[in-house]
Amino acid sequence: MSILVYAEHDNESLKTETNKLVHAASAAGGDITVLVVGKNCGLVAQAAAKITGVSKVLVADNVAYAHQLAENVADLVVELAASYTHVFAAATTTGKNFMPRVAALLDVAQISDIIKVESADTFVRPIYAGNAIATVQSSDSVKIVTVRAASFDAAANDGSASVENVDIVKVSEKSSFVSAELTVSERPELSAADVIISGGRGMQNGENFSLLHGIADKLGAAIGASRAAVDAGFVSNDMQVGQTGKIVAPNLYIAVGLSGAIQHLAGMKDSKVIVAINKDEEAPIFQVADYGLVGDLFDLLPQLEAAL
C-alpha cells in the first residue's frame, strides 16, 4: 500500500487542504508520498516535507506546470501512478480538473469528493447534494480519489520527509494558459476559514454585501454567498457556498438573508455552529441553525457589528 497525495498550493504556499489530504490518506493506511507540481514551488515542497506522516516529497518544478493545466498534470500523474495503490487529491477546482483525466487514462473509475475513509478500498461520499450518503467499494488496481478536505482534520507539521525532484516534463500543445483574474482579499479563504459569514438573495444587491465586511473583519471571517446571490450577480462565483460551489465546515457559520435551499445546505451543514438571520421565520435555514434571529438584516447587521 502506497498513496500519492497531490499537494494543493499556489506555487508560493502550501494550502491546509494538503494536511487534510494526508490525514485522509493515513486512514487508508500505507506509505504516503506528497507530489508538488508547479513552478518555483521549492518553499511549498519544504512545507510539505514537514507534514506528519509523509515519508517522501516529490517535486515536479517546471514552467509546464506553472498553472497546473489539467492536460500536463494528468500525464505526469499517470506516469507516476504505476508505483502507487492510491492517488488522493483535494476536491478543489484543481483536483476536480485533472483527476478524472488521470482515472480515464489509467482505465479506472474515480471516486469523487469523499468525506470518510472506511478502509483501503471503501469510501463514503455524499450524493444528491448531500441528501444521501453513499458507501462505495472499489476493486480497481489503483484508486483515484478526490477528497472533501473540510470533512477531515489536518495532519500536524512535525515531520521531516526527504524531498526528491521529478524530471518528467509533460507539455500539451493543445492547451495553454492565457490569463488569471484572482480575487485579492485580506480575509481568509473560504476553505480555510474558522468563521464564515454568507449573504443570500435577501442582501438585495452587491453593494449591501459591504454590511458583512465590518463583521467579517471583527471575527476574522471569510465572506461567502448563496447560489441565488451569485446568480443574481451580487458577488463573484468564487464566493459561492453549496453543492456546486465550495463545501465548508467552519466553527461558526453565519447565514444572512439566505433561505437555506438544499443546495446551499449541502455546502455548509457540517459547520459546528450555525447562526441564521432572516426576516422570514419560516425560512428552512432556521431548521438547521443553532441560533436563529428573525428580523430585518438591514437593522440587525449594524447592531451585530457594534456588539462584537
Binding site: 480497481d140 490569463s179 436563529g292
Partner: protein, 250 residues
Amino acid sequence: MKILVPIKRAIDYNVKVRVKSDNSDVDLNNVKMAINPFCEIAVEEAIRLKEKGIATEIIVVSIGPKAVQEQIRTGLALGADRAVHIETDAALDSLQIAKLLKTVVDKELPDLVILGKQAIDSDNNQTGQMLAALTGMPQGTFASEVLVADGKVNVTREIDGGLQTVSLTLPAVVTTDLRLNEPRYASLPNIMKAKRKPIDVISAADLGVNLSSNIKLLKVMAPEQRKGGVKVADVAELVAKLKNEAKVIS
C-alpha cells in the same frame, strides 16, 4: 462547426430525494425528472454559438433507458438539430459513459463537445474530463465564458481563487458552470417541431464498450439530520450565546 452536447436525465432540481428503506439506493420511483441543469446550460451555449453563426449543427446525445428520450426531445425543442440515443438499462459510472460518448465523438467528429460540469444526482464532476482524456482533446472545465475563433476556443474558467482563461486547440471539450448563460425556455412551436427531428437510437451493447464497473455501491444512508436550535430575541442575546454557550467567539 459541429457541436456535440451530451445531456443527462436527472432528478428535478427542486425535488428532495429520499433514501430507500433497505438502504440499497435512493428511491426514484414517481420522482419528477428533468435535464440536469448544467447540461441545459450546455445546450444553451451550443444554441448561442449557432445563433452567432459559429456553429452549423448541434447534436445532443443521451445515454440511458427509453425514458431519456424525453430529455432528448427537450434538447431538440431548445434548438438542437438532431440527436443520438444510446440505449441501455445498466447503471453506468462516468468512465463507461465517457467511453460510450467517445464512440459518438469518433463517428461524428465534432469540433466542440460541451457538457455540464456535474450532474446533480451523482455529483461526480468527471465525465467531461474523462471524455477529453480518452479522445486526446484539451479541456476547459467550469466555463463562465466561451469564445471560439481561428480554430481555437478561449475558455474562462471558474476556479477557487477567481477566474482563469485557457486557450484550447479545437476539437476541445468544455464543461459548463452556472454563470455561463441563462437557458431559454422552449417555445410551443419549437416543441412541436422537435417531434419531427431525428433521433438515432443505438444499443449500448453494440458499441464494443465494456460496461461493467469496478465500483460497488454497498449502501446508501440518509444523512444525519441537524436539529434546529433556538430562536434568540435580539443581537445582544445572540452575541451572549455565541460567547458563553457555543464558545465560538471571544
